[in-house]
């Protein structure tokens, strides 16, 4: 862990030696890994980064693990595409999409799990675990397989089989917990406390969450060493949102780019929008809710980083918006039909909010804007089944021509 120093509590600022811990022993606030930025500045240049691997590990100096031998599925350095057709539809001339749907297990989770898995292995754990209804399960199972570590995935017992084939295929132990969402949450916290397992978003969470910074670094590098005027980012716990901002600022801190002036816009589904609700009410107090949305990958009712996400919005002059399920589905289709990108419901949330920001004039036509697409549409196909609407004909050439006339 070359450039890290200590854990520091985000609430009371107490410091601790680096270890698998996630809450402050004094006040139970979340702890965050601290870095020696002078050492990072000595170690990196634009050229050294550009010469690095075509993956998130080109930014290894900024990550809280030893990057010389990571648990690596080649995640990251995903395409940043100019979205001319979508932009034209929305009246935006300078719109880009960060397409993380093409990661090894088809979501941005590969970034955070890669860091968590590496940390877990280096701390001597033999098991990586998580509780998940989808993307995280797949990524944890895949990284456990790659690392030759045991993988445990906890799911609600009533979860559809289709949601977890993408995790089961890698051979983890899957534990289906009879009970509701809260029961699974609490059980996993207890197990994390009792067993010497690395729960990626519990006891190694401070390492896990740092992987999201690479979404900030990559966009800055791919835009030609600058940050956008606007970033539209889907949020569940709020962690990725805060870490993208941190990534932009770390690049500035070590002299790679100018000071970021990005307006950070948070996107949530209406059925799971506790952070947006707090923003709308002008408060920093998050009221936990029970999620009810088709955007399952964003369904977190008690977001651990909600308060910090609101701070980033305030600091940057950004906004927080929520969109209903029907807009999510419509936006998934719009993205596919304009840019050829099939995103899951979380991406539909991002595009839905992007549409709202463009329509209300918050994003001006020529402003440089990046919308983050965090997962692949194959994960949530069921919500767009209605798009399948073939013309049915007899096996006859004239039948086809007749049908063609009607189009």
């Amino acid at each position: 862990m070359a450039n890290t120093t200590v854990h520091k509590c985000k609430e009371c600022s107490r410091e601790y030696p680096l270890s698998p811990m996630n809450v402050c022993d004094f006040c139970f606030g979340p702890v965050e890994v601290q870095y020696d930025y002078d050492a990072i500045q000595e170690a990196v240049t634009r050229e050294s980064i550009q010469a690095g691997p075509h993956s998130m590990w080109r930014y290894a100096e900024f990550l809280p693990v030893d990057g010389s031998n990571p648990v690596d599925l080649n995640a990251g350095f995903t395409p940043l595409v100019k979205a001319d057709r979508l932009g034209k539809l929305l009246g935006l001339n300078n719109l880009y999409l960060k397409n993380d749907s093409v990661n090894p297990t088809f979501s941005f989770k590969d970034r955070v799990v890669a860091v968590a898995s590496t940390a877990a292995r280096d701390f001597g754990f033999d098991t990586i675990a998580c509780a998940s209804t989808g993307n995280l399960a797949g990524s944890v199972a895949a990284h456990a397989a790659k690392a030759g570590m045991k993988g445990f995935v906890f799911i609600p017992a009533d979860l559809e089989i289709g949601k977890v084939i993408g995790a089961a295929i890698y051979g983890p132990t899957m534990v289906a917990v009879k009970g509701n969402y809260d029961d699974v949450n609490r059980l996993c916290s207890e197990i994390a406390d009792q067993y010497r397992w690395a729960f990626v978003n519990i006891n190694v969470r401070p390492f896990y969450s740092e992987g999201s910074k690479t979404l900030g670094y990559e966009v800055a590098e791919q835009l030609g060493w600058r940050t956008p005027d606007h970033a539209v980012i889907p949020s569940a716990s709020g962690s990725m949102f805060t870490k993208i901002w941190k990534g932009y600022n770390e690049f500035h801190r070590v002299g790679l780019i100018d000071k970021p002036k990005t307006k950070m816009h948070m996107a949530q589904p209406v059925g799971s929008s506790p952070i947006v609700t707090a923003y709308d009410e002008g408060t920093k107090e998050i009221r936990p809710i029970r999620p009810q949305t088709i955007a399952k990958s964003l369904a977190i009712g008690n977001p651990a980083d909600g308060y910090y996400g609101l701070n980033v919005i305030e600091e940057t002059g950004g906004t927080a918006h929520a969109v209903p399920d029907e807009v999510i589905i419509e936006s998934m289709q719009i993205l596919a039909e304009t840019e050829g990108i099939f995103t899951e419901t979380a991406g539909g949330v991002t595009i839905g909010v992007l549409r709202a920001l463009a329509q209300e004039g918050t994003i001006k036509p020529d402003e440089l804007t990046v919308a983050y697409i965090t997962g692949n549409g194959l994960k949530t196909q069921e919500v767009v089944e209605s798009v399948v609407n073939p013309i049915t004909i007899e096996p006859d050439f004239s039948a086809f021509e007749e049908a063609l006339k009607g189009l």
């Binding site: 998940s132 209804t133 406390d193 107090e285 936990p288 399952k296 990958s297 369904a299 977190i300």
Partner: protein, 80 residues
């Protein structure tokens, strides 16, 4: 013996009830508050519960029945 770190969230109608004190009296649980806040429409308390595991489970069930939301201190951990 077990130690569980939790966050209790109280709606306004519960804020004045001494529920944490009652929890300690009804059950063999030692409660230790680390952070708390009360605003217009909710109150929250971050604390640890120390005691026999089954007693803690019963205590948590009891306080939930009284309308208090109980979460792990690190927030929701089941992710999509």
């Amino acid at each position: 013996m077990a130690n569980v770190k939790v966050r209790f969230t109280f709606k306004p109608d519960l804020i004045k009830d001494p529920l944490i004190w009652s929890l300690g009296r009804e059950f063999e649980i030692t409660t230790n508050i680390r952070r708390a806040n009360v605003v217009e429409d909710q109150g929250w308390v971050v604390l640890e519960l120390d005691g026999d595991k089954q007693e803690i489970d019963r205590g948590i069930a009891w306080i939930k029945e009284r309308g208090v939301r109980v979460d792990a201190v690190e927030g929701d951990v089941i992710e999509g």
